[in-house]
């Protein structure tokens, strides 16, 4: 937002710039068949003050899907991958894993009724079971605080 010379407008522009700098974006990779679980995870993550990239809300008609996914990955601090019997059959989930890992972003597999080895491209990463999602949230909260402390 640009300032128009008005002091209020200047303060708003400054505040918006600061908010953008302190924005912590989490990319959510999942199968569309697990949309309900993904949305529940998003609610919990956003309650910590982070933002989420989720295909259903961030993709709109006419978007080039692969390009928009890569833009989301570029912008995120970290990604979580919901691994389920549905996502192990998905083409887009491994595409997103490759995109995030090529950029050396932190990727956390969240397991929902699957074994870690069922998603081969992530078997070298410690996974968290969906039933222990609160553990992930506690770790995420620390990372968000750390990032904001460094950038404040």
């Amino acid at each position: 937002m640009k300032s128009n010379g008005n002091p209020d407008s200047y303060q708003m522009a400054k505040s918006s710039k600061r908010q953008k700098r302190l924005r912590y974006l989490v990319f959510i990779s999942h199968s569309s068949l697990d949309a309900w679980v993904a949305k529940a995870m998003v609610e919990k993550i956003e309650a910590l003050g982070a933002e989420c990239w989720l295909d259903e809300k961030d993709l709109t008609g006419g978007d080039v899907i692969a390009a928009e996914i890569i833009r989301g990955i570029n912008a995120c601090y970290e990604a979580i991958v919901l691994i389920s019997p549905n996502s192990v059959k998905s083409q887009w989930v491994p595409f997103e894993i490759g995109g995030a890992r090529a950029q050396h972003k932190r990727v956390t597999p969240i397991l929902n009724n699957v074994k870690p080895q069922q998603m081969a491209p992530l078997k070298d990463i410690k996974a968290i079971d969906l039933n222990s999602f609160d553990d992930f949230l506690a770790q995420l909260k620390r990372r968000i605080s750390e990032m904001r402390r460094k950038k404040a």
């Binding site: 491994p94 595409f95 894993i97 090529a102």
Partner: protein, 126 residues
């Protein structure tokens, strides 16, 4: 410096990779490839290293390998690092080609000679 192509494939398509590598080398293009046999536990590390060194990535997709998630990982990694990525589709009907591949410009194996000629021309002109 010669244009370098990295070929990513499933181990099931090694014969196709070797044929493709020969054809590219004859056209004067440097080739490196990963067929799932090298460091099977670390395909992402191998892919990422190869991506850094390549100008273009070929990903082989056949009826034997279309369910291999590592191919989609390679596509995502290539797209994410802004490398030119070209899926090579073999023996699949259009309806069988995954939507992700359809969203990219892919080359059918039958049209490969023409693509290699275009590639050689493009790299010589660069």
């Amino acid at each position: 410096m010669a244009y370098k192509v990295f070929i990513h494939s499933s181990s099931k398509d090694i014969d196709i990779v070797q044929d493709l590598a020969n054809r590219l080398e004859i056209a004067g293009i440097d080739v490196d490839y990963f067929n799932g046999l090298i460091s099977p536990d670390k395909p992402i590390a191998v892919t990422n290293k190869a991506l850094r060194e390549a100008d273009e990535i070929f990903v082989i997709l056949s009826s034997e390998s279309m369910d291999d998630p590592n191919l989609m990982v390679a596509l995502g990694a290539a797209a994410s690092t802004r490398r030119r990525v070209t899926p090579i589709v073999i023996g699949l009907e259009t309806a069988q080609v995954p939507s992700l591949i359809k969203s990219l410009k892919y080359v059918r194996y039958a049209d490969l000679n023409r693509y290699i000629v275009d590639l050689a021309t493009r790299t010589k002109a660069a």
